[in-house]
């Protein structure tokens, strides 16, 4: 009996995440501008604000002792960042015009590109290359390294980077955003206060920037509260990525499509791999797949392991050693999923959480940074007039390349629900006509509304050999995940669900957070229990797409990505 995860909504109320400050007034921490999220959007914003403040002595005084604070839940900025990525240079050039490219935290400029269609045995080069994959002039970078770089620059400029700090509540009073509340630390499995319990604090700010990325804990709740939702619901793809030390350097950026993703519209398996060089001795390989697939046994991590056994790919990894692994979702709703308003009194949203990602071209890093800079400009101008109306930011984004690019590809993701060939043809037509064909708005649905069935996707997967292919738990270990065993469970799902839904979660999760108890695996019951091992979680966000809700663990928990 096919069911969809949306029929089993998680025990989570977004209203719990929004409220007024509760600390006594003299206990609250005051900052000028609070930025939630130490990623490209948040840190570009922080750096830009400090640059602008150099010419605004009066405003700098008004902002007080801590003009800008970045609240980051990872151990350091960059610990939770993961992406491909081929970054367009425009944002870095604008933010640091005097910084020579040799000092950029990038691996190399892209000079060669190739796209292949994989079958189970061969790799057929696609020529001419689909234009959306062309990356000449872009820079292969690790967003994890980029985060550390931008964070160091921000600190040098006087920004307070508050890492290991989760922003668990948005402070709102009279429908004006006043800041955020940081999370408690030192609670046990049942939420009880342990011996070293330290409560969070209200951080009040004149302006708040939500740059939380794909997890969007406060952002998505704010969309509900302030009625900001876009025309289409948010959707996501899940990417699982590995970094390998290899003896043979890779000389080109490679994208593949096809095997092992199945082409029929029945399975709705959209995605492909990326293989990027990282200097002379490393490369990264990842698989990105849309979360609107229908087979409950589909697993992105296992599909990636399988892909590595393809002769073409195996050859690239020959003699190499896996040194990193990670997973993260990418918002794929595009233009129509962007919130209808990017600003409300006291707050703006920027980056991935505002759906500023162009999935067909796999670009989001520079959009995030540009948005962060627009936010910085608007906030500085408004605060100078003592105003918390940031609507000018909305205008800036709409007039910018962010809006232009996303509008062009606004319908490009959707055709793939018609299967690989028809979808591919339609997407190509869209590219060529710059989005004018077929025009209009191809409506999307939330990934959790897809009906799941127990299929055969997992029949293809391979048993890990620990040299080329690896199991999930071994991989979680490599992500640097060292979450406390007795930490409270931050994952919100219903724990008794139909087998298809449970299996969807079990296979989907790259970190093996969800399990069906051994004795229920083969007992044929229609409903099963779901056991959650929250400490494995690498906070990729996939569960939010598929019927559950990822809330925030304690600050500092989760992976410690170095160069993903």
């Amino acid at each position: 009996m096919p069911t969809s995860p949306s029929e089993f909504p998680p025990p989570f109320d977004p209203a719990d995440v929004i409220g007024p400050p509760t600390d006594a007034e003299d206990e609250r921490i005051e900052v000028g501008i609070a930025i939630v999220g130490g990623g490209p959007a948040g840190l570009a914003c922080a750096n830009k604000i400090m640059q602008l403040l150099e010419n605004e002595p009066e405003l700098t005084e008004k902002l007080g002792e801590v003009p800008v604070a970045v609240i980051e839940k990872g151990k350091v900025a960059g610990a939770h960042l993961l992406s491909g990525a081929n970054m367009k240079p425009s944002a870095m050039e604008e933010l640091f015009p005097d910084l020579p490219k040799e000092e950029w935290p990038v691996f190399q400029e892209v000079t060669k590109d190739a796209v292949y269609l994989l079958t189970s045995k061969a790799a057929l080069p696609l020529k001419p290359m689909p234009p959306n994959f062309r990356n000449h002039g872009n820079y292969v970078t690790s967003v994890s390294k980029l985060g550390r770089f931008l964070s160091d620059k921000a600190e040098e400029a006087g920004v307070y980077i508050l890492s290991e700090t989760a922003a668990t509540k948005l402070l709102v009073e009279d429908r004006v955003v006043k800041g955020i509340r940081s999370g408690d630390r030192g609670r046990g499995k049942e939420g009880e206060e342990l011996g070293n319990f330290e409560p969070g604090s209200d951080v009040v700010a004149k302006a708040t920037v939500l740059a939380e990325g794909t997890v969007g804990h406060l952002t998505y709740a704010a969309y509900d509260y302030f009625d900001m939702h876009g025309a289409d619901p948010m959707r996501w793809e899940l990417g699982v990525k590995e970094v390998w030390e290899v003896p043979k350097p890779l000389d080109r950026v490679i994208h593949t499509m096809g095997w092992p993703l199945r082409k029929s519209p029945r399975y709705n398996e959209f995605g492909g791999t990326f293989i990027y060089p990282m200097g002379e001795d490393k490369l990264c390989i990842g698989l990105v797949a849309g979360l609107d697939y229908t087979d409950a046994t589909f697993s992105v991590h296992d599909a990636l392991q399988l892909i590595k056994t393809h002769p073409f790919i195996k050859n690239l990894l020959e003699g190499g050693k896996r040194v990193a692994w990670g997973a993260k979702t990418i918002p794929s709703g595009g233009y129509f999923a962007m919130p209808k308003r990017l600003a409300v009194p006291g707050m703006v949203v920027a980056g991935d959480a505002a759906s500023m990602v162009n999935v067909p071209t796999l670009k989001g890093v520079h959009y995030a940074m540009h948005a962060g800079m627009y936010a910085a400009e608007t906030i500085v101008e408004s605060l100078k007039q003592d105003s918390v109306n940031f609507e000018a930011y909305d205008e800036k984004v709409h007039k910018s390349l962010i809006e232009k690019d996303l509008f062009e590809s606004r319908n490009m993701r959707q055709p793939f629900s018609k299967g690989f060939f028809l979808g591919g043809a339609m997407a190509s037509a869209m590219t060529v006509t710059k989005g004018n064909f077929p025009g209009g708005h191809w409506k999307q649905e939330h990934d959790s509304e897809v009906e799941m069935e127990l299929g055969k996707a997992s029949d293809m997967y391979v048993k890990p050999d620990n040299e080329l292919t690896f199991a999930k738990l071994d991989s979680v270990f490599l992500s640097g995940n060292a979450t406390r065993d007795d930490a409270p469970n931050h994952v919100r799902i219903q724990t008794k669900v139909p087998r298809e839904i449970a299996q969807t979660w079990v296979s989907m999760c790259p970190a093996q957070v969800y399990e069906i108890p051994d004795e229920q695996l083969e007992n044929g019951a229609a409903e099963v229990d779901v056991h959650v091992t929250a400490s494995n979680c690498v906070q990729c966000g996939a569960i939010t797409a598929k019927g559950g809700r990822l809330t925030l663990p304690e600050g500092g928990d989760g992976p410690l990505y170095q160069e993903t």
């Binding site: 048993k463 620990n466 071994d474 270990f477 060292a482 406390r484 065993d485 091992t533």
Partner: protein, 324 residues
């Protein structure tokens, strides 16, 4: 300078510690190659024949400081520093254990000497000693040489085997002037046993239980087997999470790290989070019904079978062998 001086730790009844006997045997072996005496430092009022009997493990000379208290490091640093200087020993060698670490460290400062700890093997190169020690969570072995003499070598727990060779040692009494700070620490109570608080990190034999046990009751089998073998019980994170066994017994990435002589894994899959906590065990015996369990890739003896059938029978067989 020549010869190697070791330290023989003993309890309040005068029984010598096994790791100390191992150190003496090792020193005797090495002194035989580089020349000089295999000396032993003993503190406290130990009888002549007990001291001389250390020769059975290879000691040639036993230096006894009757008035120096046993159990705290700093008075023994005073004693050994004196003997090393007076007698011209080239090396001081310690068996595994807390006091060995503290005394060796004190001597490092006192004699301005080089020190290597967690040593697993000692070899002779060009008439000098080179200590091998694992580093970076046992991922590499470093060969460490000494630039000057004396050099201090502190062994890892159970690194040196005690070998009896027959023989007696000369017993020499020494007078030691204690440093002022050596009298500022006083033993109030020594060696208190605390209930069932077995420290799994010191156990030589561990029986580890995992999800394969099926239920909390499964640990009874592990306890009985451990008891028969004279060992302790350990657990994986998964079963501790499930409440089957206490956290104090947890081994792995987020628990304890152990290196016993034998690690018997019952119903444990061998995922890396657990593996990193026990991979340095000298011998690993795994029992698991899944032949594809990763633990079989690094066990010394793997048994594919039902632990519920095997473990009780194994316990009986061991009891019989020991009793008989």
């Amino acid at each position: 300078m020549a010869g190697i001086l070791t330290y023989a730790l003993h309890d309040d009844e005068g029984n010598f510690n096994k790791n100390s006997l191992g150190a003496i045997s090792e020193a005797a072996k090495l002194a035989g190659q580089i020349g000089g005496d295999a000396g032993v430092m003993v503190v406290g009022d130990i009888a002549d024949d007990a001291c001389a009997a250390l020769g059975n493990w290879g000691a040639t000379k036993v230096y006894r400081a009757k008035d120096v208290p046993e159990g705290l490091a700093q008075p023994i640093v005073d004693a050994m520093a004196k003997v090393i200087s007076d007698e011209g020993f080239s090396y001081a060698l310690f068996g595994g254990g807390l006091l060995g670490f503290e005394i060796g460290a004190g001597l490092t400062a006192r004699l301005n000497a080089g020190v290597t700890m967690e040593v697993t093997e000692v070899k002779v190169q060009d008439g000098k000693l080179v200590a091998e020690r694992p580093i970076l969570q046992d991922s590499q072995i470093a060969d460490v040489g000494y630039v000057s003499e004396p050099g201090i070598i502190i062994g890892r727990l159970n690194a040196f085997d005690a070998n009896e060779s027959g023989g007696t040692a000369e017993v020499i009494d020494v007078q030691v002037e204690l440093s002022p700070w050596s009298t500022k620490a006083k033993m109030v109570q020594r060696g208190e046993q605390r209930g069932a608080d077995v420290n799994i990190e010191d156990a030589e034999i561990l029986v580890g239980g995992g999800r394969g046990l099926g239920a909390a009751e499964g640990f009874k089998q592990c306890e009985e087997l451990a008891e028969a073998m004279g060992g302790a019980v350990a657990a994986t994170r998964a079963v501790v999470d499930a409440g089957w066994y206490p956290y104090a017994a947890q081994i792995g990435q987020t628990g304890k790290t152990v290196a016993p002589k034998l690690y018997l894994a019952a119903g444990i899959s061998g995922a890396i989070q657990h593996k990193v906590g026990m991979q340095s065990s000298e011998n690993i015996l795994a029992i698991n019904k899944d032949q594809n369990a990763p633990i079989f890739e690094f066990s010394d003896l793997g048994v594919v079978g039902d632990l519920h059938k095997i473990v009780p029978k194994l316990t009986e067989a061991i009891k019989a062998k020991k009793g008989g």
